[in-house]
């Protein structure tokens, strides 16, 4: 094996191995990518809701990404109560203004942050708990008119999903 040949031989081998490595890595991409949610799942990843049928005081439940979302058309009293709460009274302190884009409409995930039950309060006949919002029957968590935890074992407020107002009466969640 002459020294003259070795650098050229090594170059060919090196480029072959590098190219092979690039090929192997590129081969992995489609396989890993196939594990992502499919296009049909992604198509259901956002939902548009028409708010016009919701009267003041009424609540609507929609399914978004497999979970319930509560949409409440809040009354003036609901909004006042939400805004007049002192942060010291809140186990998970959050201003109401940080949780709504338009005071009239509250959009929260209807999943109790304790262990995942769906709280009561959507129907007018439902109990709303001690704070006028929602009450979780599983372990007794009480949520207020801004969906914040007030009493009970739940650690955090009902999460607010990402949403935008497409028009004054139409929102897109997700």
């Amino acid at each position: 094996m002459s020294d003259k040949k070795t650098p050229r031989r090594d170059f060919i081998k090196l480029s072959a191995m590098t190219l092979g490595g690039v090929g192997a890595a590129s081969l992995a991409i489609p396989f890993i990518s196939s594990m992502n949610p499919g296009k049909d799942t992604l198509a259901l990843a956002s939902t548009e809701i028409d708010l016009t049928p919701l009267e003041e005081g009424q609540s609507l439940t929609v399914i978004w990404r497999g979970k319930p979302v509560f949409i409440k058309h809040r009354t003036k009293k609901d909004i006042e109560d939400a805004k007049n709460t002192s942060l010291a009274d809140l186990p998970d302190a959050e201003e109401d203004s940080a949780r709504v884009q338009n005071d009239k409409w509250l959009v929260v995930l209807g999943v109790c942050t304790h262990l995942g039950c769906v709280p009561l309060g959507q129907k007018t006949s439902d109990t709303k708990g001690d704070y006028g919002g929602w009450f979780c029957p599983c372990h007794g968590s009480h949520y207020d008119t801004s969906g914040r935890i007030r009493k009970g074992p739940a650690p955090t407020n009902l999460p607010v999903p990402p949403y935008v107002f497409l028009t004054d009466n139409r929102i897109k969640i997700g």
């Binding site: 040949k5 060919i12 190219l19 198509a43």
Partner: protein, 250 residues
């Protein structure tokens, strides 16, 4: 060399394995054929119109969703409008009842019939096949579909056509339950293209070909890159092999 011979021999004999019909199907020039073919989107859009106005009354398109039409160049708003023109069965609602609502882009194309039996009942016992895969589900694919649509010619004089059947030159057995669905000028095209039988059959077949294989363009594009890569890799590997084996003496 011997290895190459065997591989090519295997591959060249495959078209003899399909037990296809003995009827000669004319070959057409499709825009997606060949190594760099693509779907003619304008043609496919016109084909969609033909499908919706002529075929969708009886033939379902179960594997297409309205959102897939974005691939053909339709805007999101246009797709929402097309979807909303259809009624989709949904439910049960809180009263436990099924209800109908306007279609959404995420819905699959609405089925003209509630189920297969309803489809048969409405068509004299004949089932109008789903068209999502029809181009892949027939030997000679697109050529066959277009030929069939153009194949409603006069039957030979001595042949009696049973009631409910029609003579078709390209259907296996020459009898088909579907009457000729198309005629000159049947569908008006928005882009003003001449709506001859030949044009409409080309357009609807293009649409159906896309519906059966939407990934075709991605596939061919990837194929070019992959084969180019492999050829380069092969050349490098071949040179490596020659170099490594050079010092093997006898």
């Amino acid at each position: 060399m011997k290895k190459l011979f065997f591989i090519l021999f295997f591959l060249s004999s495959f078209n003899t394995f399909s037990a296809g019909s003995k009827i000669d199907i004319p070959k057409y020039d499709w825009s997606w054929k060949g190594f760099f073919g693509t779907y003619d989107r304008a043609s496919a859009q016109r084909g969609l119109k033909v499908y919706r106005e002529v075929c969708a009354g009886c033939h379902s398109m179960n594997y297409l969703s309205y959102r897939n039409l974005g691939d053909l160049g339709f805007s999101e708003d246009h797709i929402k409008a097309i979807a909303a023109e259809n009624l989709i069965l949904d439910g049960p609602n809180d009263e436990g009842e099924m209800f109908e609502r306007d279609g959404l882009p995420s819905d699959k194309f609405a089925n003209p019939y509630a189920n297969d039996k309803a489809a048969r009942a409405a068509n004299n016992g004949a089932y109008p096949p789903d068209l999502s895969l029809i181009v892949k589900a027939r030997p000679k694919g697109a050529d066959y579909v277009k030929s069939l649509l153009l194949g409603y010619v006069d039957p030979p004089e001595d042949m009696t056509i049973p009631n409910g059947q029609h003579y078709n030159k390209y259907m296996a057995g020459n009898l088909i339950a579907m009457a000729s669905p198309l005629s000159d000028g049947l569908v008006d095209y928005d882009d003003g293209t001449q709506n001859s039988m030949d044009q409409m059959t080309t357009d609807v077949t293009t649409f159906l070909a896309w519906a059966a294989e939407p990934s075709l363009e991605d596939r061919k594009r990837m194929g070019f890159k992959v084969i180019l890569f492999l050829v380069v890799l092969f050349i490098l590997a071949y040179i490596s092999k020659q170099q490594i084996w050079r010092d093997v003496k006898y």
